[in-house]
């Protein structure tokens, strides 16, 4: 990267040093599992004089995703969003209002046709012709349908946009629908979470800007670098689960000791996200739900968050060891990784099962299977 480019952007970044700037992108690249050199490429992509246009549409949302994005405090993130990306339309953040805001959106779409990144935040109500969310007198359903075919990439941020989230909770009064169902046949990246981790979003945007293609996605459209592992796999309390040490009531001795929250209904064993590794709010260790002593409720997982009863036991999807877990049978031939993990986790499961009878069936909505069937 040319030195003078960086000088220009140092000004834009409010005096951030070259070192900090490159360090930031190196961290971003490594959080996506990309080689170190990619960080410099990303830095180059965002210092391109033509700032990439981002159009952010808000549907049935609470602005929580925007707030968490704005509060991301990696060096100068606000500058990254506001100075390095051209955020051409965002209802909560734009200066013009009314028809001027709508004109800004139309202009950005015209000028960046086929290139801009469309971000949708919130679910799309389809009931009664979409009257439950109107912008400038138009249903957001119509706006999303009109804007999407002209976008270069589409990102659904938050659980509402990704799979329905809160508005789609039973009885889904407004017919709240995720973006990818509205835009069937168009690739949509889902960044679920309530709120979504700002770094999962920013990493995806940077990946797209750098490589001009979307990152590798799983079967639910989620980037694999962020949603490839269960929360349970990298949870800091996982050793307590494996050893069979559980909190059974809020505030009991085991809870105070920081034991596993599985019996309080933690949905970590069935929720895919990187919260235990990335945390929230950049304020140090423990800054995520389980770290503060509350069970994960699966906010990012379809069919779990806002669907499964809060304090009911999670379905343990599969038992894999923590990334740093030592082998249960080191060196034993013909032992598959599943069996290795099973050995280590058996104690946890046996003891966990005893608590199951006590907790299953809490909450009005009955069991998980019923819910899933209803949704399908």
């Amino acid at each position: 990267m040319k030195m003078n480019d960086l000088d220009v952007f140092r000004e834009l970044l409010g005096g951030v040093s070259r070192r900090d700037f490159l360090k930031y992108f190196t961290i971003m690249a490594s959080s996506m599992g990309l080689p170190l050199g990619v960080g410099a490429k990303m830095a180059e992509a965002v210092t391109n004089p033509k700032r990439p246009s981002v159009i952010w549409l808000s549907a049935q949302e609470c602005t929580g995703c925007t707030e968490s994005l704005l509060r991301a405090t990696h060096p100068t993130l606000d500058h990254l969003i506001l100075d390095l990306i051209s955020l051409d339309y965002h209802e909560t953040l734009s200066t013009p209002a009314g028809h001027q805001a709508e004109e800004a959106r139309q202009k950005a779409i015209r000028d960046n046709k086929g290139k801009f990144v469309l971000v949708v935040d919130g679910s799309i109500p389809v009931k009664d012709g979409g009257v439950y969310c109107m912008i400038g007198g138009k249903p957001v359903l119509q706006i999303v349908k009109e804007t999407a075919p002209q976008a270069g990439a589409i990102i659904a941020i938050g659980s509402c946009a990704s799979w329905g989230g809160v508005p789609s909770a039973d009885p889904n009064p407004t017919g709240a629908t995720p973006v990818h169902e509205i835009l069937k046949g168009t690739p949509v990246v889902n960044i679920p979470g309530c709120p979504a981790s700002p770094y999962n979003f920013l990493s995806t945007v940077l990946y797209y800007l750098t490589f001009k293609k979307l990152p590798e996605l799983d079967d639910q459209g989620r980037p694999k670098f962020a949603y490839g592992r269960l929360i349970h796999e990298n949870c800091e309390r996982r050793p307590h689960f494996d050893a069979g040490r559980f909190a059974v009531a809020f505030g009991d001795d085991n809870h105070r000791q920081g034991y596993c929250l599985y019996k309080l209904g933690c949905k970590g064993p069935e929720t895919y996200n990187n919260c235990p590794s990335i945390l929230y709010g950049d304020v140090g260790s423990g800054s995520w739900p389980v770290g503060t002593g509350h069970p994960c409720f699966g906010c990012s997982e379809k069919g779990v968050g806002f669907t499964a009863p809060l304090h009911a036991l999670a379905n343990i999807k599969y038992l894999t060891p923590n990334t740093f877990f030592t082998e249960a049978y080191p060196g034993k031939p013909e032992t598959t990784s599943n069996i290795k993990a099973l050995g280590a986790a058996t104690a946890g499961v046996v003891i966990g099962a005893a608590g199951a009878a006590m907790l299953v069936g809490l909450g009005k909505k009955g069991n998980d299977t019923e819910e899933e069937n209803k949704e399908g």
Binding site: Q60, T63, A101, C133, T174
Partner: protein, 63 residues
């Protein structure tokens, strides 16, 4: 002779707000504000286990 002005969307706030006002001789004579988005959280929490209602009400506004 009054003029009717509509501002929709109102930006820099959370949610979708629409303001309509009647202006007569440089003075606002009447005005209406309306929320343009509804999720029905009241209906969603009805009959739910009280211990999980906070999950929904907390998300009325994320600001």
């Amino acid at each position: 002779m009054s003029t009717r002005i509509t501002i929709d969307p109102i930006t820099r706030i959370e949610g979708h707000l629409r303001i309509e006002c009647e202006v007569d001789g440089g003075h606002v004579t009447n005005a209406w504000s309306s929320g343009q988005m509804w999720r029905g959280i009241e209906n969603i929490v009805k009959g739910r286990d009280a211990r999980e209602v906070w999950l929904f009400t907390q998300r009325i506004c994320g600001v």
